[in-house]
Amino acid sequence: MSASRRLDALLEAGVGFVAGVPCSYLKKLFAGCAELPAGYYLPAVREDHAVAACAGAWLGGRRALAAMQNSGLGYCLEVLTSLHLMYRIPLPLVVSDRGAPTDFEEHRILGQSTRRLLDLFGIPWREARPGSHEAESRWLIEASERERTPAVLLVGKEADV
């Protein structure tokens, strides 16, 4: 058992490598990542490097998960399109769902465009619910592996379990 039930569920669903850049909406998830054994968690310096490292870990035979704030999707676009989508490399992503009208203004523009951005590139996504972490973890892995694509679970503050 880690500090995060969601991380436990993702590990149960077969995740064997995590790379990411923290978000305060994902405190529990990242607390769990910090407890993983050496070689299983990469604290990346920027989100594009996190997803690229996940591609390397997938080539190495692991199910690799990226975790980040939705603002990080902007940094990732080139790698998601010309690495994961073009090479058909599966990539489950846990992305914080920031940008509500009550959130800080720096989160609003990309935050309120996140779903449209994912739709634009044909990346499947789903919104997390507080009690559904086990089914959501299975969906995330299956959605990314079935079509060998990035797939995104959008996690609001209340769903960081």
């Binding site: 790379a19 070689g39 990469l42 920027r46 690229a52 390397g56 080539l59 190495g60 080139e78 010309s82």
Partner: protein, 187 residues
Amino acid sequence: MTRAEAVAVALSLLGEGDIVVAADGAISREAYRAHDRARTFYMVGSMGQVASIALGLAMTRPERIVGLDGDGNLLMGFGGLAMVGGIKPANLYHLVLDNGCYATTGGQPALSRKVDLAAAALGAGYTWARRSLSGDDTRPAMESWLAAGGPALLDLAVDGEETDAAPRVPMTPEEMATRARAALTWV
């Protein structure tokens, strides 16, 4: 020495089990032409991510991982140096084929002429890093690099002029990914 010759020398020094990540553009095409191998992952696009992909491999595989990078490519993904230096995988070997310019796009000068990439790697935490100048013997420099403890970076000066362009790798990106993963995970 041309970049293509340096790529060929590097590949000739590797063992069958070594895993190679070849940078997008000319470096991948030259690596394919010199010696195609299933354990080479050829990049087309996602510039700046050689070190990050190599790190993901180094953290999940016991074999030696060799990143064939370019200087402009490394500068674009400079944060990758910090991740490799911070994690310190002993099996990661990083070769920068440094022509001091963006050769593929017309030879525009790159800041690698002003920035000491080997010093940056050491500052980031690489165990070993050196710059090899154009007059130096390439093969001994590469042998020292591969004999050093990892993570190790060799910043190798190569000619900036583009002659004898290698053709594109004749596989789809999906085939490249599938083939490399199958070669690594075959049991």
